[in-house]
Every structure is written in structure tokens, then in C-alpha cells.
Amino acid sequence: MVSFSRWKVILVFCVCVFGLAYSAPNLFSQKTLTTLPDWLPHKQMNLGLDLRGGAHLLIEAKIEEAIREGLEGVLQSVRISLRKARIGYQSLSLIQNGVTVTINNEKKISEARDKIKEIGKGMIVEVEGQRVWIKYTEELLRDRRRAILEQAVTILNIRVNALGLTEPSIQRQGTDRILVQAPGGDPEKLKNIIGKTAKMTFHLVDPEFTTLNPKLRPRPGVMVLKGLDEFDTAGRPIFYLIKKRVEVSGENLVDSRPTVEQGRPVVSFRFDPVGARRFANTTKRNVGKPFAIVLDKEVISAPVIREAILGGSGIISGNFTTESASELALLLRSGALPVPLTIIEERSVGPSLGADSIQAGKIACIFGLIAVAVFMVFAYGGFGIMADIALALNLVLLAAALSLLQATLTLPGIAGIVLTIGMAVDANVLVFERIREEQLRGRTPISAVDAGYSRALTTIIDANLTTFIAAVLLYMFGSGPVRGFAVTLAIGLCTSMFSTIMVTRLMVITWLRQKRPQRLPL
């Protein structure tokens, strides 16, 4: 292994040059980078949230609930449809992924089946005896689940982007999870806009209007809803008696803005033509009566209709602050989430900790490098210096790989770099020790170097491979920051093999050829 063909030498040089070129952007600020010509590499390392600071939220979408809601809608449609066609039925109920009903009159079964078929697009309808089923197929269910999740992601995108953050990332994870990562974002603000479904509906109010008793059983067609932040003089929460029927739905909203009326923050809204028409009809027929605005099952406001509103726009006033008005307007603009969301994991880092971590990481790397380098010189003298040059190159290649791949660098990732500094010299140590031994056994310098490298090679590969396996497992089972560690460890192992087997060897051989020593100083 003491010959180095010309093309190999060129290869090593090229790799080193590329390494320097691709890792260099990390030394400059973003501003300087944009001034450089396009053909120069300009990608910097991608810093993780624990280094940049920001919010990390893992959200679970209760998709089964959304599916269930959809099925309840189907059930209602079946009921209405059968009633209209005057088909008698019994036991109309929900089943797993579907709805079932028993038709009283045998002769009306096919008519019933046809009517039910019209309700669910793509759902299969089965008949057995006098029972009719309408169900989701597996495929349709899968599609619906995916569609619901994607719609949720889209709406979250609108909401989060309105906050004006730098590169927020909102991604699906698995079948029912969404990961929101917002560098520099305020986790509290994010949680506010994520947690609210924002389903807005407009209802008429029961003549009884309000009650203090939440357990009151109202008459049919009326429900009891809590007022948002409304209390009587004794501090007890006020509940409203709201008619169940939805007069106008928030689905028909096209715009919503925070604004000010009589010095107080309010939220303005505007309907599309369908919504505007419904709004006009309801207000025309109910002048003088209260009109409740319900958001996520809470009554935010119940103003009295003073006149028919034909323009399709209006104002919601209540106990709003400028911030909460702005927030509500954003939620209305983005649309209601099709599925309730809960936050199941949060890992948010403030900017001060992020900056501290970067600082600590830099210091650890620099001191680690110096300490190990100095030690190697003490241990091996001249050969130690060669190993140190290879170590420095190792780090440069590592940085270049991270920048090129845009792999995320996390705090554990920096720990991985420091660890690589300590472990990378191992390969060189294995070689040097072997060379030392071979020389002691009586080999000439060149022969010793040759034997050293050949014998040590398999050991190096074996040893590094086991650590590599550990890194792969860590990547598979780890998450976020731990993955960053696995990546830097794995890349570090590869670059250290390269720098030992190619770079140090080249240096040693060149030195051998030039100096032609009688004995190796090992």
C-alpha cells in the first residue's frame, strides 16, 4: 500500500479542494453569501431548532372523530331522504365506517336503496333482507383520512404563515400527525392558532335567551351553550339557549379583518353570495330578535338584529383586545379545521438558549480539536502532525458534507462532531502502532509502512463499521436531535476513514520518498 497512482493523488486533492469550497460558506454571514457569484457554493449548514431557537410542536389530528362526524352527516341525510320519500324505517344507526337502516316495507327496499345510493358518493350500498347498509370502502376511507389531514395541513399553513415567521415547516407525519417547526416562533402564539378549530355558525336564539344553569334541559331544537367570558354580577358564567338550526355557516365566509369601531377592537366579516343571501333572509325575517354568533360551541356575541343586512357583511363585537381580534380574523380567514387537533409533544427552545448552545458547541469543538491535536504531537511527533492535518481535513469534509446534504445540525450533532474528533484519530493510531510493531520486527521503513497500512486496514473497517451500525440504529429509532447526532457520527466515520486511508497515507508516503530515512521516528 505504498504506491499512490497519479489519479488517486489527483482524486485526493480534488476531494480536499471541494471539501474546503463547500464548507467555506459556513464562515460567512448570509449577507456576504448573497453577494458572491452564483457558481460558488453557498449552502450553509442547516441549524436545528435547538440551536436556532423556535417552536417545535407535534400535533395529533383526531381523524376518527372527523370521520364519525361525517358519518353522522350521512345518517341525517338518510333520515331526511327516507322521510321525504315517505319510506318507513327502523333502527337507523351508525356502525363501523357506515350507516345501517331497516326498511319496514319490503316493496320499498329498492326505492330506498336508490335514494340512499344518491347520498354517499363512492360509498357502497348493500342490501340483505330488509336491511340496507351504506359504507365506506377501505380505499375511500383511506382517501378520506388523507384528505382530512391534508386539508388540516393546508389550513395550518395559512394560519402559521400569517404570523410572518421565517421558513416555518408544517409537515404530515404518518397518517394522523402534523409536525410544525417554526424557527424563531413564539410557541404560545402558535398554540393559540393551532388549537382552535374555528368553526363559526350563526344561530337564532330561544326566547328564554339566557340561563345560569348549564344542566338545564331545553325544549327540542334548542341547545345550551356557554357564553365566551361572560359572567353575571356574582361571577357565575352565563349560558345561552341557542336554536340548534344553523342559519348561516362560517364555510361561506370569504374574508375577515380586525378593525376598530367606536374605539373598541372588533372583527369584520364578509360572506360569499350564498352566505350573503342566507344572512339577508335571516336578518330580514328576524328584526328585533337576537342573533347568536357561535365559535367552537361558545357564544362570542349575540347582538340584536337592528335591520335586515343585505350586503353580506357585518361586525362581531365583544370583549376583544387588538390581539384577540386579529387572531379571530385570522382563524376565520383560514377556515375551520376539519378535525380537532391536540398537541402531543412540544420541544421549544428560546433564542437565548439557542445562542448559548451554539457558543458552547463552537468552544467545545475548537478546544477539543486543539487538545487532541496537541496530544497527538506529543504522542507521535512528526507523524502526529500528519495525523492532525488529516484530522483538520476530516472536519472540513464533515462540514462540507453537512452543508451539501443540508442535514440538520443539532446540539447532540455537535456532540457527535466532538466525539468524532476523539475517535477519528483511532484509525491513524491503529496504523501507526502497526508500523511501529513491524519496524520492531525488523522491517525496513517502506516495508513497515506497507505492512502497517495493509494489516491495519481490515481492523479499521471492522471497528468503524460497528460504530456505524450503532449510528444507523440511532437514526432509525431516534427523533429530531438524536437523529442529528447519528448523522454527524456516521458522516464523521466515513470522512475519518477517507482522511486516514487516503490523506495521511499520502503524506506519510510522500515524506518517506523525500526523506528516505533509515528508521521511522515511531
Binding site: L58, I344, S352, A364, Y380, P412, E433, D462, F468, V482
Partner: protein
Amino acid sequence: MKLINLIPLDTNIKFLRFHRLAIYGSLLLCIASLGFYLVKGLNYGIDFRGGILLEIRMNQAANLSILRANLKTLGLGEIELQEFGKNTDVLIRIEKQPGGADQQRLAVTKVKEALGSGIDYRRTEFVGPKVSGELVEAGIIAVISALIAMLMYIWFRFEWQFGVGAVIALGHDVLLTIGIFSLIGLEFNLSTVAAILTIAGYSINDTVVVYDRVRENLRKYKVRPLEDILNMSLNNTLSRTILTSVTTLIALFILFFLGGEVLKGFSFAMIWGVLVGTYSSIFIATPLLMNMNLRASAVALPEEEIN
């Protein structure tokens, strides 16, 4: 004066003399570790327990007893406070509140109100029960997979006797690491598991280097008694073992002292792991080869391949 010359190449330490002592000593430590784990348990972080973690920095040195008293009145269940590096930094751990995500948020709001203004919230972490369950599962599977993967790898590269020796040494290392964490009460979280996996890689790394030598020597000196060959191999690789351990420890100590508070647990685990891993390669993995009836014939090359 090169340091390396301090470690002569022709040492002849009879490592295997310590075989009995090492086995008994290690057995004792393993039992002790198991004992600590079963009796005292591990100080699981929220990654595995679920709950809320707040890292805060106050304007002046924190008075933990006052803080503790203040927060206790909020009735949020178990609250743990500890200093985190500087005396202005406090780590607050709150157990998972019954109820959904809203309850957790409410708890955080209450704590923030109680702490008042002028607090820098450096880190907020919340792990719900579903996620913590998944993390526990992933952690266990990862460690077990590592043990199996390493065993298969060594079996593939060497003979089965080597594999058994290596895995026993590895299990020993993992057990002792869990033991020390239990004893000291250091927080056992995801980065600890990452450290354990890395220790596994490093320990096997060390063991493989020695095994490689054992195999080479077995092929060279077919007639010598196994104990001599094992001793010889250990002595041959001694200088490399010491040097690599030293450089790795240098890097890890720097990480421990300069790498920030968050990495302290990880670097401590790694330092302990390197020490234990090196010890187990020399005093457990290699001597065990004797008990495994390892013979030169096991590693002999087929006739044609001997050069």
C-alpha cells in the same frame, strides 16, 4: 520526547491472571447495578415519563425553597426543581396533568404567572403520554437491536465464541451504565439512550480490535496455549487501546466541561462508557474466550488461502 515511547511495545502484562478477580468484580457490579435499578429506579426524564419541563433563567440567584413553596400552592401535582448549571438557572419538572393538552397549557400558564416577570424561558418541553410511550418503546427496541446487530456482526466476521464474549461484555457495559445512572440519580432521557447506543458501538469497536489480534495470533502461533495468545494479543494492542481511549476521553471531558449544561448528562454517560468499555474489552470479552473452548482450528484459514 514522544509520549508513545512511554508505552513500550513489548509489554508483557499477564492480563489473564486477573481473570477470576475481574469476573467476580464485574459480577458484583452487575448485581449492584441491577439492585440499584430495581430498588431506586431511574430518574426518568419527561421523554419517558411524560410531563412538562421548563428551563428558566432568573434575574438573580434562584432560591429553590421559596420557588418550591410558591409552586406547590398551585396544586399541579408533583413538581421537581433543580439548579441547572448557573445558580440563576432552574429546571422545573411538572408531572403530566390529568386531562388533555389544554390542561397542560393551563398548568404552564399558572406556573408562568406564579413566577412573575423578568424570567427568561429558555426551554419548554411537553411530552404527552402517547409520545412518551412510543419513545420508551423505541428506546428499548433500539438497545436490544443494537445488541443483536453487534452479535450478528461479530458472528459474521469472527466465530461464534467471539460473538458471545463480545455481547456479554456489551451487556455488562449497558448494565453498569444504567447502574451508575440509578446510583447518582442523573436524568435518564433520550440523549442517555443515544449515549448507550454509542457506548455499544465504541465498546464493540474496542473489542473487535483485540479480537482481530487474537485471530491473527491464533493463526500464527497454532501451538501456543490459548492463555498465552490472549495475553499476547492484549499486550500487542495495549498501546493503541490506551491512546485511543485517551484521545476520546480528552474530547469527552472537553465536551463535559465546555459543552453546555444540556450535554452534561450525555458526556458523563459517554465518559463512563469509554472507561467501562475499555475495561470490559480487556478483562471480560477476551478472557471469556478461554471459557468458550476457542481453538486455533476455529479461525484457521483454508489451506489455499494461507500466503
